[in-house]
Amino acid sequence: MAIESDVVVVGGGLAGATAALSAAREGAHVHLISANESTLRQASGLIDALGYPEPGPDVDGDGGASASGPLADPFAGIDDLPETHPYRVAGADALREGLALFDDAVGDLYRGGHTDRNALVATTSGRTKPTARYPRSMAPGVVSDERPMLLVGFEAATDFDAELAAERLSAAGVPFDVSGATIAFPGEYRADAAVTRLAHALERDEDAGNGRTTRQRLADRIRPHLGDAERVGIPAILGDAHVEEVRADLSERLDAAVFEVPTGPPSLPGIRLADRLFEALDEAGVSMTTGTPVVDFESTGGADGDRIDRVLIDRNGARIPYSAEQFVLATGGLVGKGLDSDRERATEAVFDCHVPQPDDRTDWSAEGAFADHAFARFGVDPDGTMRPLGRDGEPEYENLRAAGGVVGGADVAREKSASGVSLATGLVAGRTAAEEA
């Protein structure tokens, strides 16, 4: 016996969640298995689609190929991508439908769905990042807005230097005045207090001493730095589920639009997104098992069989079988551990699917840290319904599909396309799996 469902999705990040949701909406009973809590909890919360076009040759000689400026419209860049890019394989419509599925699932939590065009959002390092969707809490911070901006950092939160970020934004020629200020977070906390601790203090508006609440004192401390600023960016810790309430209150107190600046992990916008997608999955009737890696599988006809019967999760040494008609692999790339590598070769970690790669390991990387590295595009090689293909060009298994970072062909860090690739491939993999289940 085994835990049974129509479709098993392996991996609980954005690609896995998208595949599970898209399969469930086709009527399949889906089981989502995740090795750890969703990696979305470490994500910035920005949903990029395609930020930079296919880079040209290295004209400035820094080892990195030169890309022109950010893309205004991610869809306009798809035709220029190589044929092996997941967007070319899945098609531009897959990205469009993936984004639509996302918009529907997250509802009012996000902005940007009204247009195909990218928004530019300021990051903690004072760069601007092109992104297709962004949390509503970040909306007043978009760079196309010309209102004067104040960035506020906290003394204890060393990963955001507000003055430096402001300087860099100015140097990049943003169309507004921007200044930075660093203040102490109101109240008595450990110097290394968890961001969730501070977020909850704001959400519950806890007493912060002197008979004043956390929000009151925070506004008091920001006000002297306000100057002409009409909007105020604060690291993304403005509450957990009730961020809009915190933002509205602070905005009123400061008479300026308060917004969140996306931060590194652990990330409140990422946690909010994970929670929202989890709710959508729950409502769609998706079953979920978290904290248990898939460590093995059984296929019809043994190890070389052409159909997967079941996967086995490891629960502290016990092997629990999950059987299904269709399987989706959404375990991530080299960072997410869906791909493994040693001194000889890179491999796909669960089913050992074929991963195209140069024979000579020295060809995996190029000179220069930000160059066009082969390893960045490592991953399985999918057909039009996202079935990983073997060395012979035939599907590895007739009922296995792949989505997200484990799919090769995209350099998502350079292109700023990680979320879009997950949405597009997740949508196709989940939907076609459900159709055949």
Partner: protein
């Protein structure tokens, strides 16, 4: 990996003395403490090519080399944001400090374990939060064990109180011989006041009542198993609480499993060790674990799989035993132990019979369900809500992913009681907003906390299964 035997005199175990390197002959009294270097100075690049590679024992003589785990930490602090104690107790530095950082600090000679380790409630939430598989709870358990062994005065109120709380089963064994008298004494407010003032056990909580008859005595009286089977056999690890207090949970397990045709064995057993780990009483835990591994190992050899009705018990057998001990058979027991509901869902068709039940015929109420942290860490947090979705007419609402706050013995400590209730606040609120006015959970102490915070009655999922499927018109 070696175990953490402080001394082998009293445990009589055969746990690897002969195979241990001489430097470790004093056992784990200082877990990796005395032979530490200042971090990697002795590492030398391995000579030759890959085939000749031999790992270098950087911390020679240490009982448990957790360095690979510590080195996997890239300081994202996801663990700290998952920690229910750090959320309410600003004096607690959080799991990242208690794990990888504390571990590195104590590599230095003469560095003691920071006493903030006693603030950890051992909910183990950090294990699930870590994206890099750092064995945080293992590090906490070893650090806490070392702290209690070497630094906590044995005549201190904390030590005596914690020893009493950790060895609940021993006391329960005595108390349950005269359950009514014990219940009367422990329920006396004067006794509760004395407990708080003298021992530091909070007077805010009502001591759990002892059942008139223990589960083991009931089992014996009924003549053991009523079903015989060659191929469907489980060995039931009931733990102390279902034996002395919530015997209805243990009886429900027996009735449900027999309804599905299982032959049940109730092996001799001791406390799983959960409260001992949480209080750093590793000697006590080791003595218990040794008996359990031996007896459960024997049952496994006879074709039984081990099932537990308490998710902290299954967590101890599956994860903490292999992480901390290496008796012969420890890994086998871990690999063949299951949660009771989990096992049933893997091996039997439970869903179809549940679908055939009309709750109104069985007087089954709506529930507010709380997933215990130790169930969540095993990936079992969704199984009850997902199963009972199929139970027509019953609303089972998950009250969220917060910790209940009691964490076994943590919430019984006078100085932790307020924190415990503050942690539990979110769960209490969600319970009150849920449709159901009855609670449901797998963990006996979460159950106590749920009842304490809301006044609701609390059931175990096995009791709901019993009401739905045992001696009803439903075919299983």
């Amino acid at each position: 990996m070696h175990d953490t035997h402080d001394t082998h005199d009293d445990c009589g175990c055969d746990g690897g003395d002969e195979t241990e390197p001489p430097a470790a002959a004093d056992g784990g009294a200082k877990i990796g403490g005395d032979a530490a270097t200042d971090g990697g100075a002795v590492t030398e690049p391995p000579a030759g090519d890959g085939d000749d590679f031999e790992p270098v024992d950087v911390f020679e003589g240490s009982e448990m080399d957790l360095r690979p785990g510590a080195d996997s930490c890239y300081k994202c602090t996801s663990c700290d944001t998952s920690c229910p104690v750090a959320e309410v107790d600003d004096s607690f530095p959080g799991p990242k400090f208690q794990g990888p950082e504390q571990w590195r600090l104590k590599r230095k000679e003469d560095t003691e374990i920071d006493d903030s380790i006693t603030g950890c409630s051992n909910c183990m939430r950090c294990d699930g939060a870590c994206p890099s598989d750092v064995p945080l709870s293992q590090m906490h358990n070893t650090a806490r064990g070392e702290y209690v062994q070497n630094q906590q005065p044995k005549l201190s109120r904390e030590y005596i109180r914690n020893r009493i709380l950790a060895n609940y089963g021993t006391l329960a064994g005595l108390g349950s011989k005269v359950p009514r008298l014990t219940n009367a004494i422990m329920g006396n407010s004067l006794v509760q006041t004395v407990n708080e003032k003298v021992l530091g056990i909070t007077a805010e909580r009502d001591f759990p009542e002892f059942a008139d008859q223990t589960f083991r005595s009931w089992w014996k009286q009924r003549g053991g198993p009523k079903v015989q089977s060659e191929d469907k056999r489980i060995a039931y690890f009931h733990g102390d609480y279902a034996n002395y207090n919530t015997v209805e949970v243990a009886k429900a397990l027996v009735r449900v499993y027999e309804a599905f045709g299982y032959e049940i064995l109730v092996p001799d057993q001791r406390c799983s060790g959960t409260p001992m780990f949480a209080n750093g009483m590793l000697d006590d835990a080791r003595r218990s674990a040794r008996v359990n591994v031996e007896n459960l190992g024997d049952a496994i050899e006879q074709g039984y799989d081990v099932v537990a009705s308490c998710t902290s018990c299954s967590m101890a057998l599956r994860q903490e035993y292999p992480e901390l001990f290496d008796f012969e058979g420890t890994e086998t027991v871990a690999a063949n132990t299951y949660d009771a509901l989990e096992y049933l869902l893997v091996h039997e068709n439970v869903i179809d019979p549940i679908r055939a039940v009309d709750a109104a015929d069985h007087d089954i109420p709506d529930f507010a369900y709380h997933a215990p942290c130790h169930s969540r860490n095993q990936g079992l947090d969704r199984q009850a809500v997902e199963l009972f979705r199929h139970l027509d007419g019953v609303d089972v609402e998950d009250v969220g992913d917060s910790c209940s706050g009691i964490s076994g013995t943590y919430g019984w400590k006078e100085e932790k009681y307020e924190y415990s209730m503050e942690i539990g606040e979110e769960m209490f609120e969600h319970m009150e907003h849920a449709e159901g006015q009855t609670g449901m959970t797998e963990c006996p102490t979460c159950s106590m906390q749920m009842e304490h915070g809301t006044g609701y009655e609390i059931d175990h999922p096995l009791q709901v299964l019993e009401a739905a499927l045992v001696d009803t018109d439903v075919e299983v």
